[in-house]
Structure formats: structure tokens, C-alpha cells
Symmetry: C2
Subunit: 130 residues, 2 copies
DNA sequence: TCCGTTTATTCTTGTTAAGGCATATACCGC
DNA sequence: GCGGTATATGCCTTAACAAGAATAAACGGA
């Protein structure tokens, strides 16, 4: 039950929902999450930290990038809720657009496996205009 | 998306989860929820208020009792999440015990339809010892 | 009309968390 | 080692909320 409450606590924030929705598509580095969400770095980083602290995601390093992904071993409860989230996300504009952006991003990166900054196109637009 | 966040906000509290789990079994009056949860009246009332304010439950009066129930028309998102919750609840001790208590309570009340205080057994134990 | 029961509301206090700014840390290439 | 990029952390302010105590409101019955 405590676990369930913790999961719902993670899910009751818009930014975290968008992040989780993206991670359902596979591992991602922070900068891509940032770019897709269009949210400031601190915000994204903090929410990722929150999700990690509560056991929903895990990190690995790849050079100077951190690759976030959904935890590999998921309890039944977590799996159920992620599935439910995906269901719900399928009908939401924002969620769908995020995934579309991700798809584009991956195509621009020649679609190699852990699609992250690891292999950026030279002329990729900088993150967050300013 | 906003709706989804609101739903999760409702779900990220232990007491509310227990209440919703009970209401999944059917309408209930406040005093029975109180009795089953073993939580003080204020607490239960407030959480019911919260759930109502966020559109997860609705109330009707029956004499001096208020009968709470899950909202009749549920969005797809809400329905999905309630189903998911029930799934998760099935494997949790507290949730199961709450439902068992409810079953007993209903049996004691001769199992008539909107099982609430409307027809209490004369020798029913008072709510919350004090 | 007064009483007891049922439920909600108000007020207060402590905790948690969100968002922003500035800064720190870690790594890369030179 | 230096500068630049990527990411995290600390501090601050503000808002939301949980919980408890006391009280109010609404109703039924004698």
C-alpha cells in the first residue's frame, strides 16, 4: 500500500507524467527530455531526481550524459500503473506530441540504439533557445 | 492531462485509497467508512470532501446520513485508473481486510440494498470506542 | 422545541513539494 | 590544467495539504 501511495505521488505531477510517458518509449538522456518537454533544466533534473528517489526510474552514465530509464524490475503494481498510464496517454494531445517529438529526434540521430546525445547531428539545434 | 493529474493527486493518500477501494464495492454512508477504516470522523469527512471536490465521488442524502458513491459517469481515464486500483488492491492486506469488514457489516445489516446506517442492528457496536 | 446523532467547517500547525536562481560537480576535448 | 557542456544541488519563497481540536450545521425523534 505504501508503495502504491508512493507511485501515485510520483504520478500526480504534470512534468513527471510527461517524463514517464517518454521513458515508456525507452531510455533517454536528460537533454533530450528537456528538449522535448521544453522545460528548464533544473525542473527536469529535479523531477528526474524525484522519480529516481522513489524507485520509478534508474540512471546510468554514458560519458557526460545520464541516461534515464524506467526501472528494469518492476513490481506488479508499478507495471499495472505504467500500463494504465500509457493507456491514458494515448488519448492526450500533449503526451502524443511528446512522443512524436521523440520520434523525430531519434530519426535525426540516425535512430541508433540508446537514442541520446551520444551521437548528435552536427547541425542539431541548441537546447532551449537562450 | 489535467484530469489525470487530479486523479493521481486523489490517489496518493492512503486514507483516500482505502475509501475508494470501499466505494468500488458500492455506495456507503460516512459512518460505515469511518467504522471500517477506524479513522476519526474529521479525517474521513475531509478526505471525502477532497474526493468530491475533485469529482471522484458524489453524495446523496438519506435522512441525516450522507451516502457516498463513485461518480456515476466516469471518464475513460477515471475508469481505467479505478480498475487499475482494484487490481492492485486485490493483493494488499489492508484493502482486502477493509472489504472483508464491509462484507461483515453488510451481513449484520441484513444485506439490504444501500447498506448504510439506515437499518442498524440494535446491538451494533458504537463507532470508535470513545 | 430541545436533544442526540451525523457530518462538515474553521483554525492552527507541521510537512512536503514546486519552481527559480545561483552554484557546484562531473566529464570531454584540447 | 582550461574551457565548455551536461547535470545536480542548495537555498529561498510560496503553495498545498494532512491532521487534530473545537465548533457549527443539518436532521430525526421525543
Amino acid at each position: 500500500m505504501t508503495e502504491l501511495v508512493a507511485i501515485y505521488a510520483c504520478l500526480c505531477d504534470r512534468t513527471r507524467l510527461r517524463i514517464l510517458n517518454l521513458l515508456c518509449q525507452g531510455p533517454l538522456c536528460v537533454c533530450h527530455i528537456q528538449e522535448i518537454l521544453g522545460e528548464p533544466q533544473v525542473k527536469v533534473s529535479k523531477h528526474l531526481g524525484y522519480l529516481k528517489a522513489h524507485g520509478l526510474v534508474e540512471v546510468s552514465r554514458s560519458g557526460s550524459w545520464r541516461i534515464y530509464r524506467l526501472v528494469a524490475k518492476r513490481t506488479k503494481v508499478l507495471a499495472s500503473n505504467l500500463a494504465c498510464l500509457q493507456d491514458c496517454a494515448a488519448e492526450d494531445r500533449t503526451f502524443r506530441r511528446d512522443v512524436e517529438k521523440l520520434t523525430v529526434l531519434r530519426r535525426d540521430l540516425d535512430g541508433d540504439a540508446p537514442a541520446c546525445c551520444a551521437s548528435p547531428k552536427p547541425n542539431r539545434r541548441p537546447i532551449r533557445g537562450r
